[in-house]
Each structure stands twice: as structure tokens, then as C-alpha cells.
Symmetry: C2
Subunit: 258 residues, 2 copies
């Protein structure tokens, strides 16, 4: 069944009114007819089964027949701090990270970041938020990940450490700690949060982090870890590392097993 | 230091002669000079430190100063059986899978495969092998993954089960077994192989596997597993699943810890 995240004000009692853009998609692209069923989501973790009542372009609405909690959300809130990079790589990371289960994306700029525009234009934000929404619909998530403003690395570390229970950074020169070792050092803390932990994960630019930046991590309690002996591209690491964390913490089990 | 995989016949005693294409890259693109160092690999897991002696276009050679075993290879031989799909996705999977540590790629065609050309043209094979080689150089691997001919699913399952110790398939409708559960059922077998296991992993097309195809898996001992509640795109699953397997089997530790 087709899935649509809709703004809060589209829901009124049992009735769901579709915004014009979604209405056009329902009518002209998907060619759905009155009487057919779709799923709508309110971005707070609920999914509504809606029977279409009218598919006129300026008047598309339906009635809610059932409501349930979305099963597809990760319990852990994982914030992915990613070095700003070329547009195609950024968009790749936003799409794949959403599928994997990332809850928030925070671009940052460090010494070797490929792209250094700290200001996110409105059109760029709109485009990236559309990618997040479409990936959330496709992967059957209950919430669209957040997209934060771009930060400098110092500020990103400060925010991450304030707002998260555990802070991690993938570092290709880390010679001691694997991800599993680092996670084992925080396993008691994570268990006490019974799956509702907030984890911040830093993925650096193509040129890596400088020694000084790694020092900033260590001074602030951000634990660096290795992703193994092979050198991963930045965008590969940004997709693989969250998946490994979710796997290690039991978040990749089939439905009703978490 | 720049890394180059070279054909076997480029190595003769202490001397390494570069093929014309690599010579052009060394001279015109990288602008290396006689006296500078490069790394060459023989695709059997060895790396040679080579000092350039001559960088003439038709006569580029160097002398081996040191030889060692490449540290970057995964001990497990993982064969990735992937449904044939659009070119950009295939190339993505070949590139990222190589970085992660896949040892062989075997395209297959099943009921819902998006692309159905069972014959691989010479130009396509050449292009895909170049992607594998470049990704192996970039990620500092010691061996270029193999690219097999395309198979039908029945034949792919037969070959996989004959040539591997453990056969797995990611299946989005699997409601019982997580990857960690499936791996725990074969942990004794894997331990007895002391890290040198051969694992086959099937990743299906965008439309998934049919019930009949899943039956073929189960009849032949291919174990199906879930990648969690979120629906991953095919290319995301193809990159994430090998990484999870390597992580679970301790192959993502930093150097000298495996």
C-alpha cells in the first residue's frame, strides 16, 4: 500500500485531507481511485489506514479506518554527524542513512571537509528534506529524520556531548579500539537506558580528521573506533557504521523480536 | 603512497615493469618522478615497495625495495550473489562491496530481476573489472575480487551450496531469524574453520524473492534472515549485509587484532 507522510493539519477527526502536491501524485501518477486504500503517517510514529473518498485535484480526502503504531522505528536515537561533502554523496548518505534508521543528520565542517558552505540555503534544505521524507516512506519508517543546521566541528562536539548518552567517531587511524570494544565499554550504560539510548556518531571527511581534531574528541569523551583494515570511502562508512551499531544493539531483528 | 595492481608478468626478479596504461597514469596524471616510491600488488596478497627508476612513457620501471603481506584482506571468503539490476546500482554494489571486503561477485537472475541479460558483454566485464580493481586499490586490499558470469537462480544456489561452508539469503519477509541468530547456528562450524570460512550471501532484486524461490533456498540449506523492520533498498542491503557478517565474525578489528 502507498505511504504518505502528511502535515499535522491534514488530520481532522476521522478525515484526512491531502495537500495538493500529494493529491496530484495520488491522482495523476499513482492513478488511485476513490474507494482504494492508502497509508498516511503523522510523523509521530502512527500510521493510519485511509480509504480514499474523493480524488478531485483540489479536493482529495479520505476517511481513517484504522490506526496503529509503526513497527519500523529504531528504539535508539542515533544522530549522524557527517562532514559536509559533495552534493551527490550527501544525498546518498541522507537516503541510505534514513533506510538504516538514523534519527537525525547534522552536517559539520572540519579541517579537511570538501565543502565549506556553513549556510544551508532554503532550496537545499527543501531538497534534502524531500529526500529524507521519500526515503522514510520507502523504508516504512514512522518518523522522518531531522536535518540540523551545519556546525563547525568544535560546536558539533559540544552539542553532541551535551545531548547524547554515548558519542563515537569512526577514525581510520585508530589502532586499538574496534567498534565492538567501544560498545562493550558502554554496554552497562546502554542497558540501563533499556534501548532508548541517544548515540552520536561522527563520520569525517575524505581527508580524515587531523590529530588536533581527534584530540578534541578525546578531550570531550568522544570515543574513536576503527572500522577495520580496509579504507572505506566516507559515504560507505556513513552507511555501514550506523548499521553496525544497530546490529550490535539488537535493533536489526525481525518484527516483534526487539 | 599510490597503489597499483599489476599483471603477474610485470614482475621479474627485483624489477617491476609498468604496463603502458599505468605508465601514462604515473607520468601524466600523478606526475611522479624517477626516485619516488609507489606500492605495487601482485593480486596474490603481497605488496611491493617499488622505487621508480625510469618514467619514460614506453619504458617505465622500478626496483623492489621491500615485500610484505597485505594486512587488509578479510580472512573469510564471502561470495556476494546479487540479482542483476540497473547499471548504476550494480556499479555501486561492486565498488562498495569491494571496500567492505567481498571476495567474489556473482550476478544472478531470478523472477523479479530488473535486468535479464544473462550474457555479460566483453565491454561490460572490462568496465566492471576496472571498478573492482580501482576500489581494491583505494581501499588498500591485497586482492581484486572475482567477477563471475551471470547465473540463473537455480544454478546459483547449486554452485553456492557446493562451494561454500555456509549459505545465507537476506529476505525481507523473514519473520523469525535475525542475522545474529542465523550466525549463531553456524558458529561452531565457522569456529572449526578458524576464520577461513567460505560464505555465500544472496541479495534479491527490488521486487524480492518469490515464495518458490525461498523454497529453493530452504530445500538446499540456504538460511534466510531478516535485516530488521525497515525496508532496505537492494543496493543498501548488498553493502550493509556483508559488513554485518564481517563485524559479527570479528573481521572489522583494527590491524593486528584479528
Amino acid at each position: 500500500m502507498h505511504r504518505f507522510f502528511l502535515p499535522f493539519d491534514c488530520f481532522s477527526g476521522k478525515r484526512v485531507t491531502f495537500p495538493q502536491k500529494t493529491a496530484r501524485q495520488i491522482r495523476n501518477v499513482l492513478r488511485l481511485k476513490s474507494g482504494e486504500m492508502v497509508l498516511t503517517l503523522d510523523n509521530s510514529g502512527h500510521v493510519f489506514e485511509v480509504q480514499l473518498q474523493s480524488v478531485e485535484l483540489k479536493n482529495t480526502y479520505g476517511v481513517i479506518l484504522d490506526k496503529s503504531k509503526v513497527d519500523g522505528e529504531v528504539r535508539i536515537f542515533l544522530s549522524l554527524y557527517i562532514s559536509l561533502t559533495q552534493r551527490d554523496k550527501m544525498e546518498f548518505i541522507l537516503q541510505k542513512g534514513t533506510e538504516i534508521g538514523v534519527s537525525a543528520f547534522i552536517p559539520f565542517i572540519s579541517r579537511y571537509s570538501m565543502v565549506r558552505d556553513i549556510l544551508m540555503t532554503a532550496s537545499r534544505r527543501a531538497r534534502w528534506e524531500r529526500i529524507l521524507k521519500e526515503a522514510a516512506e520507502q523504508s516504512e519508517r514512522g518518523k522522518i529524520p531531522l536535518l540540523n543546521s551545519t556546525l563547525g566541528l568544535d560546536q558539533a562536539v559540544e552539542v553532541a556531548c551535551t545531548e547524547h548518552d554515548v558519542c563515537l567517531a569512526a577514525w581510520e587511524e585508530e589502532g586499538e579500539n574496534s567498534l565492538s570494544q567501544v560498545l562493550s565499554t558502554v554496554s552497562e550504560k546502554l542497558e540501563s537506558l533499556s534501548g532508548k539510548a541517544r548515540i552520536a556518531l561522527f563520520i569525517g571527511p575524505e581527508g580524515g580528521f587531523t590529530r588536533k581534531e581527534v584530540q578534541i574528541f578525546h578531550d570531550n569523551g568522544v570515543q574513536t573506533f576503527s572500522l577495520g583494515k580496509r579504507i572505506l570511502r566516507m559515504e560507505t562508512a556513513a552507511v555501514v557504521a550506523p548499521a553496525l551499531i544497530f546490529y550490535a544493539l539488537g535493533e536489526l531483528n525481525p518484527s516483534e523480536q526487539a
